[in-house]
């Protein structure tokens, strides 16, 4: 399983941000972020995560769960997994062509769900089964 630090580093890289840029945007010291990414510090407190979530264009809730501040209930985990799996299916189906214009490079769960729903609409297949 991916550690919190490498998850944070992946999010930062996906947004094409340097540590300095994150410092400017989120008002969090770049040295501190670097230490968190390298696993030398515990995950930040929720208020700092809120600022980082905005800089990384991800829901605050995602970071809270990744940091262990919030428990994701099993129903929600199952729903999330179902959407991720369905999205992977859509992405790799050679008969379905799709493309996006995004702000940044992060694809949120909401967008993945939307793409799966468009797939279902066009192909008349049901992947989400009430998720």
């Amino acid at each position: 399983m991916e550690s919190f630090g490498s998850y944070m580093r992946r999010l930062r890289k996906a947004n094409g941000l340097t540590l300095k840029q994150v410092e400017t945007q989120a008002k969090v010291s770049n040295a501190y972020i670097s230490q968190v990414e390298r696993g030398l510090r515990n995950p930040p407190q929720p208020d700092i995560l809120k600022r980082l979530a905005r800089a990384y264009d991800v829901p605050h809730r995602d970071l809270l769960i990744a940091a262990g501040h919030l428990e994701e209930d099993s129903a929600e985990t199952a729903k999330r997994r179902q959407i991720e799996e369905a999205y992977e299916h859509v992405r790799t189906d050679p008969t379905f062509k799709q493309g996006t214009r995004l702000k940044g490079t992060h694809v949120s769960l909401e967008t993945k769900r939307f793409i799966v729903e468009m797939y279902e609409k066009l192909t008349q297949r049901n992947l989400l089964k009430g998720a």
């Binding site: 800089a55 062509k97 996006t100 214009r101 995004l102 694809v107 468009m118 066009l122």
Partner: protein, 207 residues
């Protein structure tokens, strides 16, 4: 014969395919065409103009067999296109707050759809190392510029018909200034969008 029949049947239901075949037949000797050449062909084919309402965009797309809708999308998603068999859809975020961004996004989505068709026909315009995303951005910018360039002579003619000399000269000056401003906004729209998005992020962080 069978191939011709299949293509004819195909292009009847799939006008994007017809357009791509026409482009290939005209530019096969100099393949791939530059984004400017492709944009020029595309703007003439679609009949897109510099300023279009959302309803006009919907009608244009429908005339080419593509469903266009404006919808509330996730914050990071500006536009989306998909195709399955003969069904084609484009969805654009209804929250676009930068002027003309929806037309830019529409052209971006079209470029991605075109590439999928070119690839299917065995005439890809990009190599695997090229980014379709960046190419689609360039195409959208160039295509919007092309729409302006195509309309410019008509405006020159209108201004040329003004009888009073000083009004005519003033008309020319305003036209040139307007044209330069339009081209500038086409070229800088993606950067401007980024600035607006960044400002939004900063505002959110501060609150």
């Amino acid at each position: 014969m069978i191939t011709v029949k299949l293509l004819t049947d195909g292009t009847r239901n799939n006008r994007l395919l017809g357009f791509c075949l026409a482009v290939i037949s005209r530019h096969s000797e100099n393949w791939p065409p530059t984004e400017q050449v492709l944009a020029n062909e595309f703007v003439s084919w679609l009949g897109v103009r510099p300023f279009l309402t959302r309803d006009a965009m919907r009608e244009l797309c429908l005339s080419k067999g593509i469903n266009l809708s404006f919808s509330s999308l996730a914050q990071e998603l500006r536009g989306f296109n998909c195709s399955f068999q003969d069904k084609k859809e484009i969805v654009i975020s209804e929250h676009e707050n930068v002027p003309f961004a929806d037309l830019h996004t529409l052209l971006h989505e079209f470029r991605e759809m075109l590439e999928h068709v070119f690839v299917e026909l065995g005439w890809a315009t990009l190599s695997p190392k090229d980014s379709l995303e960046e190419t689609a951005e360039e195409f959208a910018t160039v295509a919007r510029m092309e729409t302006g360039a195509k309309e410019f002579p008509a405006y020159i003619e209108i201004v040329g018909n003004i009888e009073t000399p000083w009004q005519r000269y003033l008309g020319y000056v305003l036209l040139v200034v307007g044209f330069v401003a339009y081209m500038f906004t086409c070229a800088t729209l993606p950067q401007y969008e980024e600035m607006v998005a960044e400002a939004g992020r900063q505002r959110y962080v501060r609150t």
